[in-house]
């Protein structure tokens, strides 16, 4: 459960988020809004990458500002650009890197990493140079790096922006099958069609909060 309690955020005199109050118990939640509407900032607060300047955020009752490490163990985060998320040269090593605190033995770690890769459409890629993977495979790898940690919540910030249609569908398919609570920031409205709830932000405020169809309709009206 992710809760925002009158959360505000400002850079100098520019208000990014203005008094946002939300309780998100749903399994799959989408965040949409124009560029600069504050949706990425809202998402980054879930694991303490950005701290609110007023109000507070709670993840399962923990405040990311105060208990950052504990919260980040519960929250996985997938960014837009997989190139900056992949830190090791091969796919297997990168997933193993996520596991180095939790699985001490190196052979076990490599085996576990291969399992995670295989479970998400990257079977046999453990020894493959990470930067020679296709864009879609790289994003899957970034996702594997997070899922290996078995978080309770997965936040994705425009995860499909750099992907083609096929890979976008594949990514959506994987998200659909996750046990994790998923919070997705996106401009890809099709991705949200079967979500439980969609929140629309505009100018740092929540302007719609509904089932996908009506929420997306509101967003389209906003742009028109």
């Amino acid at each position: 459960m992710i809760t925002y309690e009158s959360v505000g955020h400002r850079y100098d005199d520019r208000t990014v988020l203005d008094d946002v109050t939300l309780a998100l118990p749903e399994h799959r939640v989408g965040l949409v809004g124009a560029n600069g509407s504050g949706k990425s900032t809202l998402a980054r607060m879930v694991n303490g990458l950005v701290r609110p300047t007023s109000g507070r955020v709670l993840v399962d009752g923990l405040d990311p500002t105060e208990q950052g490490a504990a919260v980040r163990r519960r929250v996985g985060f997938v960014f837009t650009n997989p190139d900056s998320q992949i830190v090791m040269p091969t796919a297997g090593e990168d997933v193993a890197f996520s596991l180095r605190r939790t699985v001490r033995n190196r052979a076990d770690r490599a085996a576990r990493a291969a399992e995670v890769l295989a479970a998400h459409g990257l079977e046999g890629y453990a020894d493959h140079p990470a930067h020679q993977l296709s864009g879609g495979q790289k994003q899957l790898l970034a996702l594997c790096g997070m899922l290996a940690l078995d978080p309770d919540v997965l936040v994705c910030d425009e995860p499909t922006t750099l992907l083609d249609l096929r890979n976008t569908r594949r990514f959506a398919e994987i998200l659909r099958g996750l046990r994790q609570q998923v919070l997705v920031v996106t401009h890809d409205l099709d991705l949200l069609a079967d979500f439980d709830r969609v929140v629309v932000l505009d100018g740092g405020k929540v302007v719609a909060d509904d089932a996908p169809a009506p929420a997306i309709r509101h967003y389209r009206d906003l742009v028109a």
Binding site: R44, G68, A69, F77, F79, G92, R106, D108, M146, L149
Partner: protein, 232 residues
């Protein structure tokens, strides 16, 4: 493509040697090569490095990549030295360079970065009591190696963009976007590492080391409760 080459999977004895001893061996080899200054011995060192390649059997394309780089370097450096200081010193310099670079590349080809990072962490473990954080240094080694490839890729795409705009020769058309994109990459990488709990892990380790004077090898703390592999 990364000019340093990367790990080439294999099962040779060199692949199977643990990273720690191999890294130590490489350091000794390079030190010896720097100290000895006679042509026959250095030629012998080059032979040892070449023998290493025969044992490891990396793919020929990868060997050729290195060889090409070494030849260019040898001709450039050797030519300059020959002109400045004469035949023997030129030979010494070139052979020294070739032996050291060939051995270092062989290490890269036969060793996973993951294993290097683990070896560095393990090797520096005893320094923990002096405030050194082996995890941080291990990660630093891994990221440094990665950075070479990343910067090469950024340079490549920036150069393409400059050429596309007809500014292929302008140094600023290259330098400005290169620096901007490098800094941006650094920002994104920092966020991604933070999201993977990297800074946290260091803090956990430091807290555990402070609170637990006994076995400093186990620094997992609360992470254990959430270990996906804990069931095994």
């Amino acid at each position: 493509m990364n000019p340093l080459g990367l790990y080439a999977p294999g099962t040779s004895p060199l692949h199977r040697t643990p990273a720690g001893p191999k890294l130590l061996g490489l350091m000794v080899f390079v030190t010896v090569v720097v100290i000895i200054g006679t042509v026959p011995w250095l030629a012998g060192a080059c032979g040892v490095a070449a023998l290493g390649y025969l044992v490891a059997r990396p793919p020929w394309t990868r060997v050729w990549q290195v060889l090409r780089l070494l030849i260019v370097l040898a001709v450039l450096v050797g030519g300059l030295q020959l002109w400045l200081v004469g035949l023997e010193p030129a030979l010494v310099t070139v052979l020294r360079l070739v032996a050291a670079l060939a051995a270092a590349n062989l290490f890269t080809l036969t060793t996973r970065i993951d294993a290097v990072v683990a070896a560095v962490e393990h090797g520096l473990g005893p320094l923990r009591r002096f405030g050194v954080r082996p995890e941080q240094l291990g990660l630093l080694v891994g990221l440094t190696v990665q950075a070479v490839g990343t910067l090469a890729a950024i340079a490549g795409s920036v150069r393409e963009a400059a050429v596309a705009r007809g500014a292929g020769r302008s140094p600023t058309a290259f330098a400005v976007p290169f620096v901007v994109r490098t800094l941006r990459h650094a920002d994104e990488l920092g966020e991604a590492l933070a999201a993977r709990g990297i800074g946290d892990a260091a803090n956990d380790a430091a807290n555990d080391a402070a609170g637990d004077s006994g076995d400093t090898g186990d620094t997992d703390g609360p992470a254990d409760h959430r270990a996906p592999g804990a069931a095994r």
